[in-house]
Amino acid sequence: MNMLAPAPQQAPQSAPSNDHLDELENRSIWLIREAYARLKPLGMLWSIGKDSNVVLWLARKAFLGRVPFPVVQLDTGMELPEVYAFRDRIVQEWNLGLRIETCPPESEMDPTLPPATRAAARKTAGLQALLERERLRGVLVGIRRDEQGTRAKERVFSPRSLDGNWDVTKQPAEFWDHYRTDFPVGAHVRVHPLLDWTELDVWRYTRREAIPIVPLYLAQDGKRYRSLGEKNVTFPVASNASSIDEIIAELETTRVPERAGRSIDSETEDSFERLRQAGYM
């Protein structure tokens, strides 16, 4: 071979008949299976929101209907009542072995954090307790790059130190679908199978697959939740989108950021960044 001969073309990402959602689905299933093969024991966080519903759906596809690892809800007791009702319905309908991890109270959180950020930190603490008790090596989480600037900087397999901290300056290289999965004892890996999906992708896929959603995403009286968090820190946005089709149409033209109704993101310039460095999802 000539010393400077051209490298091959990129591997084909999809067959011609595949559309964009198929490509995303194939890759995410591959990532979930990769996490299951390489990280033992593996768990999955289910926030009951639209993104983690998609992850759960993809996990059922990956393992042909049966999810072979624990699915965990980090519960602050502060979710909206519709969220709990949806959870209980899905657990029953899908015969889901859900584990509920009760998060420590707000009084135990870092008092220097702004109030809403402190409330969100409870989930980090709940996750920490779960990891320590179950000694999980891998955790599937449904975050996406397009949600928020710091999440844009994530890796698909994102290593966390013993205390759960995220060091954005020391992330491993990820290319050609090879991921670092060997780590010192005690460290764990957040696996992000939806990292490359957009909010629109999630809704289009939800529509195509008919994945159930919490009804709060649909507008009532001119308001809907675009992003679901605890009731004390999340607010609905103005919208008339009362079906998934209408949500998709709305998102195709909106200029409002997805997490606009989440107060933790904008309390101070770096509030979400501080949360994430300390191990928030």
Binding site: M1, M3, L4, A5, P6, A7, P8, Q10, A11, P12, Q13, S14, A15, P16, N18, D19, H20, D22, E23, R27, I29, W30, R33, E34, Y36, A37, R60, K61, A62, L64, R145, D146, G149, T150, A152, K153, R155, V168, T169, Q171, P172, A173, F175, W176, H178, Y179, R180, D182, F183, D196, T198, E199, L200, E209, E252, R255, P257, E269, D270, E273
Partner: protein
């Protein structure tokens, strides 16, 4: 951001085009991205005001790069740390931008971003041209498989849109890309800060043809998928469902369909695809193509595991233990010849030794250079050897199974493309080995050790000519013999007189000589003998070969003496002949000696006299291989 605005639903199903931004840290990539997103009307509400606020707070004018610098740390240092993804749309399609940081130490992120790109924009400051960092990025793009490159020659306003300056930088960049067999899709003179020729054409350069960067992006086509390649299906996992075995994997190239007869390598067992399983799918799948994940059942029970490769029966790639690769190194710790790494290709994972660093490549001039070590960001051609045959393809034939990552310890430390599969005499012999049926042994190792008082083993004495290897080995053999051991010396000069009399002293011949000595030593060691090898064996890769052939019983002993001492001793008169120019290729004089990096034992014959050297070595041998020695174990290393 999730506002891919108002694309025609007709092309909605098309894949977004992923663009990576590369170039030197100060040449304006982040500014260009900020400008593109703004002009494409793709910024979320409030972001411009937020950037104005951040800019004011830091006492700078409106800073376009703050648009993407979401992390505070980045803003304060003024550099982009991480690969971040942003999207906008032209009238033609959605475009995702991957910003690859230009800062040298953040190479891992650049590679991470670039590897998933369909095309690249290289941003080059017209006043500085394609500097080393930009050239390194372009070279890496070519290795990563990114073939479409748009060159944005930036800061044209700083040279008053001088055509000569543009032509000079455009020409040198085009020439460089030609050497990488890359042709730029377009070369556009721009000012990212002023927005000229970015989203809309500018009048600033009347000599330019009036096309903008957006026009160049619109002219790009996504890489078409190719299915007309041989089937490579990488096995990711195997699931049990009652009695059934479900094979999970991905089609890396080609196609597979129900009824196809597959061979599962390396074993080669064959079976037909019975079903392609799915869950909640309206219609059962009967075929899958490159890029698709599958869950297969077979018509027969086979042993299949992660790392196996399924191919169309009768069309298996050659399995080889030795390959030549073009590698890029990302780790801070330099790569050395003799290094032991893991090579991961698709789902296969091989333990490999870097038996040779053939050459490094100077990214500025593209000239090959000799190198003993490969540092972070460097590119080099290496020979890798695995313990077992590897099922790989030539990268130019099938990308997915022709390239892989190099893992050092826990870390992904580099990547490589397979240039060649190497089959030598030894490799062919290894291929024939499967047909050999050696008779079963009657004597066990335990019985041998009980009788002789020691186990078999190999002391591999390496060092310069005149360092004392032969003297020491013969003295040790005699001493052990007196103590009742069964010991034997394999001396380099004796081997050369017979077993290897057909070989010369070129690197390849020396490697073969080492192989023969190592195989001989292994036969003797397996028979319970303590084998003392006295052989210069100058290359680390050769000694790594010997260690691999011999296995656990191998001990590398570095007989150390400085060159001046060896030349003064000169027992064979070689140094005198080399000095008189009657001999060439003498190790240490005009041929390199690579000292061991982690020998089991060092015997320094410059500072220790003969008796002390012998005592040190003999103590070590008793501690390692003796069974009934009452002397205390010597703690070494």
């Amino acid at each position: 951001m999730s506002h891919d605005t108002t694309l025609d639903p007709g092309i909605r199903g098309d894949l977004p085009l992923r663009i990576v931004m590369v170039g030197h840290v100060d040449h304006g990539k982040s500014t260009l991205i900020g400008r593109l997103l703004h002009d494409a009307d793709a910024l979320p509400e409030g972001r411009v005001a937020q950037v104005q606020k951040s800019s004011d707070a830091r006492g700078v004018g409106f800073e376009w790069s703050f648009v993407i610098d979401a992390l505070q740390a980045e803003r304060d240092q003024g550099i982009t740390i991480e690969t971040s993804r942003l999207s906008f749309a032209t009238e033609r399609r959605r475009i995702e931008i991957i910003d690859a940081p230009g800062h040298g130490e953040f190479l891992r992120n650049m590679v991470t971003g670039a590897a998933s790109a369909d095309a690249a924009i290289a941003v080059i400051d017209v006043r500085e041209g394609a500097v080393a960092q930009a050239r390194r990025h372009l070279f890496l793009l070519s290795l990563l498989g990114v073939r479409k490159v748009v060159i944005a020659i930036n800061k044209m306003d700083a040279v008053d849109w001088d055509r000569a300056a543009f032509d000079r930088v455009a020409g040198e960049t085009r020439a460089y890309l030609a050497e990488l067999a890359l042709k730029p899709v377009a070369i556009v003179p721009i000012s990212a800060r002023g927005g000229d020729n970015v989203w809309t054409a500018s009048n600033a350069a009347d000599w330019h043809d009036g096309s903008s960067l957006r026009d160049a992006l619109d002219a790009l086509e996504p890489t078409p998928a190719t299915e007309n390649r041989p089937l490579r299906l990488a096995v990711q996992d195997v699931y049990r469902d009652g009695e059934r075995r479900i094979i999970a994997g991905r089609v890396e190239s080609g196609r597979v369909k129900v009824g196809d007869e597959l061979a599962f390598l390396p074993g080669g067992q064959r079976a037909r695809v019975a079903t392609i399983e799915g869950w909640n799918e309206p219609v059962a799948r009967i075929a899958a193509a490159a890029g698709q994940t599958v869950a297969l059942t077979l018509d027969q029970k086979l042993f299949v595991a992660r790392g196996h490769l399924a191919v169309t029966a009768g069309a298996a790639p050659d399995a080889v233990r030795r390959i030549r690769v073009r590698a890029f190194w990302l780790a801070q710790k330099p790569l050395l010849q003799g290094a032991e790494l893991r090579l991961r290709v698709a789902t296969a994972d091989h333990r490999v030794t870097v038996v040779q660093i053939e050459r490094a490549i100077d990214v500025e001039t593209l000239a090959p250079v000799n190198a003993d070590t490969i540092g972070s960001g460097q590119i080099a051609d290496l020979v890798l050897e695995a313990n077992e045959p590897m099922l790989v393809d030539i990268a130019a034939d099938i990308a997915a199974t022709g390239r892989g990552v190099l893992v050092d310890g826990h870390d992904v430390a580099g990547g490589c493309l397979v240039l060649d599969k190497l089959t030598t005499r030894a490799r062919r012999a290894a291929a024939r080995r499967n047909d050999l049926r050696p008779p079963p042994e009657r004597l066990t190792q335990a019985r041998r050790a009980e009788k002789s008082g020691h186990t078999g083993g190999v002391l591999w004495l390496t060092g310069l000519s005149g360092s004392g290897k032969s003297t020491l080995s013969l003295a040790l053999e005699e001493q052990l013999f007196e103590e009742g051991w069964r010991a034997v010396v394999l001396d380099g000069d004796r081997v050369r007189g017979g077993l290897s009399s057909d070989l010369g002293f070129a690197s390849e011949d020396r490697t073969e000589n080492v192989r023969r000595v190592a195989e001989t030593a292994k036969l003797l060691s397996d028979s319970g003998l303590l084998v003392i090898v006295a052989l210069i064996s100058p290359e680390r890769g050769q000694r790594a070969d010997a260690r691999r052939i011999i296995g656990d019983e191998f001990r590398e002993i570095y007989v150390e003496a400085d060159l001046a001492t060896c030349a003064a001793r000169d027992p064979k008169g070689l140094y005198a002949r080399a000095k008189a120019r009657k001999l060439t290729g003498l190790t240490g004089v005009d041929s390199a000696y690579e000292p061991p990096l982690a020998p089991e034992l060092v015997v320094d014959t410059t500072s220790l006299d003969g008796a002390a050297s012998l005592a040190r070595l003999a103590d070590y041998v008793r501690s390692q291989f003796g069974c009934r020695s009452s002397t205390a174990r010597v703690i070494e290393r």
